[in-house]
Subunit: 406 residues, 2 copies
């Protein structure tokens, strides 16, 4: 069988999956802020959630419900994270689930709630419950665009990606949407992301595909190093394509579908960084030559989260000294600075831990002035590598986060 993954920047409908959106008026004016995803009976779904020990009420409820029943509906509100809201927050999340279950004729446990927005304010569940009829009326297979807009907070644009997976005679669609712009350093999940396919995928295989796709996409981005209380990613396989499920993530169909998930998750994760709060630059940080991928990630994150590196990038200042200083404090196993090499774009600037003698600052500055910057760091220890995507730290990051609640 020949397999192929064809990327698509817009959102192809996923047969069997419907989405709806409406405006609750909870926090925002004149925009949708509430979204419903209807999953057909018999579909598989799998959620991964924040590793933050302080997790929001909807995360607690969604985890519990998912463990007990097959999800039929996902309900997502933007503007209020329902985090730090205690028992009242749990009750409010359940209240919203109950309203959806009533209209959707399923059990409360078949509804998973998701929230994003301000932490520490009680959720007005009555207001959201009152919107449920409007949500159901809006359900449609081509509802991705409106749904993706309804889940945004400080994001400046919706984030939607599709891929077509060709595997022999089969053609599958993988489509996903995400939101997130600040408090971004996902760990086993992202802010909020929903990725669906029309393929039939048995639950354990879907879980494995999800874990692998997330590892090098949503788990390799950082805006500000802050892991959210509400991070959640849900994958859905509607089964509308009528194929036989892959037996594992490693057989030919499993690998083809993994390619589709990786394509969509990777682009969505990078879309979050491109839309990072106040970001003016998108930076791909590749670290090579570590004893382990974890060592490479440690170095990459130390550089990606250094406020000094980030402000230098904002200023288009080729301040490689700040990069080298961040590499030096990252705590990589047996790092020897004399083996470190750094390049910005095509320009080598550090070799054997020392500045390249014919270092041309003007050429490097020209590269760093671009909206997309590649930084390559070789640490010369082992055979592993990884890439982390991040953005710069601008005046607007401070402005957005100093004013978000005022």
């Amino acid at each position: 069988m020949s397999t192929e993954v064809i990327a698509n920047d817009s959102a192809l409908p996923v047969s069997g999956l419907k989405l709806g959106a409406t405006a609750s008026g909870l926090r925002y004016k004149n925009r949708d802020d509430l979204c419903l995803i209807a999953i057909p009976e018999g579909a598989s779904a799998h959620g991964v959630y924040t590793t933050n020990r302080f997790c929001a009420a909807p995360v607690i409820v969604a985890r519990r419900h998912e463990a007990n029943a097959r999800p039929r509906f996902l309900v997502i509100n933007a503007g209020n994270a329902n985090a730090g809201t205690g028992d009242a927050g749990i009750a409010a999340a359940l209240e919203v689930c109950r309203a959806v279950a009533g209209a959707g004729e399923c059990s409360v446990e078949q509804v998973l709630p998701y929230s994003t927005g301000v932490i520490g304010q009680q959720l007005d569940s009555d207001r959201l419950a009152a919107c449920v009829p409007a949500l159901f009326a809006d359900l449609a297979e081509d509802g991705w665009q409106r749904a993706a807009a309804a889940i945004l907070t400080t994001d400046t644009r919706p984030k939607l990606r599709s891929a077509t997976v060709v595997c022999g005679a089969h053609r599958f669609t993988v489509t996903g949407m995400t939101k997130g712009s600040g408090m971004i350093k996902p760990n086993m999940a992202t802010m909020l992301a929903y990725v669906a396919t029309d393929a039939t995928i048995a639950q354990p295989v879907l879980a494995e595909l999800t874990a692998r796709a997330v590892a090098r996409s949503f788990n390799r981005i950082t805006v500000d190093g802050d892991t959210s209380t509400n991070d959640a990613l849900v994958t859905i396989a509607t089964g509308a394509a009528g194929n036989v499920s892959p037996a594992s993530a490693d057989d030919e169909l499993g690998q083809a579908l993994l390619g589709g998930f990786e394509q969509v998750c990777g682009e969505l994760a990078r879309d979050i960084v491109r839309d990072g709060e106040g970001a003016t630059k998108f930076v791909a940080l590749r670290v090579r030559g570590g004893y382990s991928e974890e060592d490479c990630a440690r170095v990459a994150y130390a550089v990606a989260e250094s406020p000094l590196v980030k402000t230098a990038l904002f200023a288009s200042d080729a301040n490689w000294g700040r990069i080298l200083a961040a590499v030096g404090r990252a705590g990589a196993t047996r790092l020897d600075i004399e083996d470190v090499a750094i390049a910005i774009g095509p320009c080598p600037i550090v070799r054997a831990g020392q500045p390249v003698t014919d270092y041309d600052e003007a050429a490097v500055t020209a590269v760093i002035k671009q909206p997309t910057v590649d930084i390559d760091i070789a640490i010369g220890r082992g055979e592993h590598e990884t890439t982390v995507w991040t953005c710069d730290l601008s005046f607007d990051y401070v402005k957005i986060n100093a004013e978000y609640r005022s």
Copy 2:
């Protein structure tokens, strides 16, 4: 014996120790940028240095010299860190030492060099060597004020502190100066700090007193989480007071002197945070109830270095949700969010992991608008605690670090 530590915000001269300063014109105009500290024969001195694997040429040279000889002179330049400068940087640092040794009639190894400023530019050692006669001509016991001004970079003011230690019939002086404002997360040392006493303290006892004083002062502050390549702290005991050295840090005199060092190092470390780049607020973060002090520090640093917490503090926004989110991701041993309590100043805002029901946001906002904010976080696990000092993240931090090299 009665012991007492009397704090002093200015710099009392330390008998036997002389300081001089001059303007080399290396980087700054119309200000001193080069400083010399002359240590009398027979004095003890002890240096602690950056843990960054990428350490600057002067750190490499100072460490090597200190291991081989008793220091007689410390020479410090501001404006150029002589870091990332390779073998040429080592040669330049040695060149400056050689000039000082010639004028001071001692071996080259008895001179320790220190540099602070921009990373990655070669040091013009000829220019500095030419200033050595002027430095020697300026040496005086009351030279602290000019010396403290000469070592500054982005700092907005000199940082000088003294304490008088009374122990029975003895009176000792401890005086220190420091510099540092950005790239501040010292680890076993700070940016640059020099602390001297007229007490006689044997070298091993001085090393022990230094380690203890640093642990809860310079090693408990953060501005931006970036550990510098040039961090160094040197303590000096001139012996001019003529006492018998304490036998250890734990005998009565050792404890009295430790009190003096802790007083001076603590205030100097907090002065760095107060003068943090762009800082508008000074924040003391106390974390109590960890299984270990290290666990408490992990939580404190996660909060202190969260860009979201720091921008909320800048905005005087009592966004305790961001604090709780940082606590939750800190990785403290067996943290249970239901045992977490948080207070801002006198106002409890989180109890048992849930918002305090009669939470008065206006009262908290009044507290958080002050230039000094105390945040108390109890994690309810064990008996340990620690305090970390930090500052907010303002527009000016971005401005200073985006423009520092341009």
